[in-house]
């Protein structure tokens, strides 16, 4: 396999965080409400991984190094895995596994609905991320996986609706999100400098 060590490095770097957080919670380093901290960190981790995934294509264009694309699918799947863990932590720590309440939340709370939609999009992309689906879907595969842009928007909206009083942190994420979309505009792509040979 090409880029074996690079792939392995990315795998370990992306997968290590939740273990580290659970360990921190275990030694009481996350304060009196570790569940809530885990929910928040996993949610933010999902968004960060999505953004990192969306960096791969522009980075490849910029540098010409094919290693970026080699880890793109893996990063996308990590993003999905974080989203699943975020959901599990929410169900366990916030709802206390009260399934009836989940139904209520899914009907009444816009930010929960938006989050659920984003997770659904990620699910669709995760199950079609294999070579077989790529071959079968052909050109439609690329179109389908543009859902990632929608997830970015949904994720930022989900985040915005959780903010209570200070938009500073959110603004930073939204700014990066906008930048990632701008570098995909065809007119901008052509003007981007190419550092590598690619």
């Amino acid at each position: 396999m090409r880029f074996l060590w690079w792939r392995l490095l990315v795998f370990l770097a992306a997968g290590a965080w939740p273990f580290w957080w659970v360990y921190q919670a275990w030694i009481f380093a996350l304060g009196p409400d570790p569940g809530k901290v885990l929910v928040d960190r996993l949610g933010l981790g999902t968004l960060v991984l999505l953004m990192v995934t969306l960096c791969m294509t522009p980075l490849q264009r910029l540098t010409g190094w094919p290693g970026w694309i080699a880890v793109r699918r893996q990063l996308g799947l990590w993003c999905f895995a974080y989203a699943l863990m975020h959901l599990a932590a929410y169900l366990f720590f916030v709802l206390g596994l009260d399934w009836g309440q989940l139904g209520v939340e899914l009907r009444k709370r816009p930010y929960i609905i938006v989050g659920a939609l984003g997770l659904l999009c990620l699910l669709v992309m995760a199950v079609t991320s294999n070579r077989y689906s790529q071959r079968r879907l052909g050109r439609r595969w690329k179109l389908l996986h543009r859902l990632a842009y929608m997830v970015l928007g949904l994720g930022l909206l989900h985040f915005l609706w959780v903010v209570r009083a200070d938009l500073k942190e959110w603004s930073v994420y939204a700014g990066v999100g906008v930048l990632l979309m701008v570098v995909r505009v065809p007119g901008v792509v052509r003007r981007l400098p190419r550092l590598g040979a690619g």
Binding site: V22, D33, G35, Q101, E105, A165
Partner: protein, 336 residues
């Protein structure tokens, strides 16, 4: 005067979880680490051994140290509920003037200078004025009030406050017949409060809160100057804060510099930001949701990693018997 409140939410001293067993629980869980950390800290003053485990003794102002021995301990308690560890009550705070993360107040509030401190009393009162805190506190005996504290964000704690009934202050300053509400203001000092310097804050400083006069006169409503047998740590609203146990925590305005008696209902800070989410009354009510989350249940902190301490929220935070009569005939769904 000794106010004796024996109500349903009270309990005898024997019903409160003994400190000794509370301590042993902690020792079992993470005691070794904490003990290590505690022995590393220099003890500034050789204060009396605190009633509570692992309390940083702080550095009490002279007026506070003088009052403490005459404190009426456990004047109000809660039934069969463990008191939140001091470390959690002082390192998990909402005090947006010092930052929006729960750990920010503990990290940043050290810069707040609480001595000297003065409080302005104005508006519809016979005796307005600006008082130095030690003179302001002079008439009152401290009482310990162990109250549940329910945050609007659906977490809760049990905290032993030291303070005195707000009603006693109101008797001193003599509200006029026009006074119908009371308005509180927190310190506005961007130089020491990084949250007030943020360009992205939705809050208009200073922080403002208010109560209806009958709520302010209720014997459960106190102005607190201490907790866990010591003066208030800065991050908990030193040197003077409001505690209204049947309302969401954000009503408990911190580091008060101004108390005004007014005739019109004041607009509070959170009402200003999101009137559909935060009402003037903000009574704890499991049947009225926050638009973005349910208020039916709460996480009692500390909440464990493998046993989330989720419990049902009680009407008026368990003080229904004492305070429900204040709201007779009011639609609590509209007046949230």
């Amino acid at each position: 005067m000794l106010i004796k409140l024996a109500k349903a939410s009270d309990s005898k001293e024997s019903e409160v979880t003994p400190h000794a067993s509370y301590l042993s629980r902690r020792t079992l869980l993470g005691g070794s680490m904490l003990a290590l950390a505690a022995t590393g800290l220099p003890r500034l003053a050789a204060a009396d051994p605190s009633l509570y485990a692992d309390v940083d003794p702080g550095k009490a102002p002279t007026w506070f140290a003088k009052k403490l021995p005459n404190t009426q301990w456990q004047a109000v308690t809660v039934k069969g509920e463990a008191i939140t560890p001091f470390k959690d009550a002082t390192h998990y705070n909402n005090y947006y003037e010092f930052g929006t993360d729960k750990g920010d107040p503990a990290a940043n509030a050290g810069a707040l200078k609480t001595e000297p401190w003065s409080v302005v009393i104005d508006g519809e009162v016979a005796k307005p004025g600006r008082y130095a805190l030690e003179d302001f506190m002079q008439p009152y005996q401290l009482q310990e009030r162990i109250y549940r504290m329910r945050c609007v964000e659906a977490w809760s704690m049990v905290i032993p406050w030291l303070g005195f009934p707000l009603a006693d202050l109101l008797k001193q300053v003599e509200p006029t017949s026009k006074a119908r509400y009371i308005r509180f203001e927190t310190l506005n000092d961007p130089a020491v409060m990084p949250g007030q310097r943020s360009d992205f804050a939705l809050i208009q400083w200073p922080y403002v809160e208010g109560l209806r006069l009958d709520e302010a006169m209720h014997p459960l409503t106190i102005l607190a100057v201490g907790m866990y047998g010591r003066e208030l740590p800065n991050q908990n609203g030193a040197p003077l804060r409001l505690v209204v146990p049947w309302k969401y925590g954000f009503k408990g305005v911190k580091s008060i510099v101004r108390i005004s008696l007014v005739s019109e209902q004041p607009t509070t800070t959170w009402q200003n930001i999101a009137p559909d989410e935060y009402g003037f009354f903000a009574n704890v009510n499991p049947k009225v949701d926050h638009p973005r989350w349910t208020q039916a249940r709460e996480r009692r902190l500390p909440s464990g990693l493998f046993s989330p301490n989720v419990r049902d929220t009680q009407m008026f935070n368990g003080y229904e018997e004492e305070v429900a009569s204040l709201y007779t005939g009011m639609d609590l769904r509209k007046n949230y």
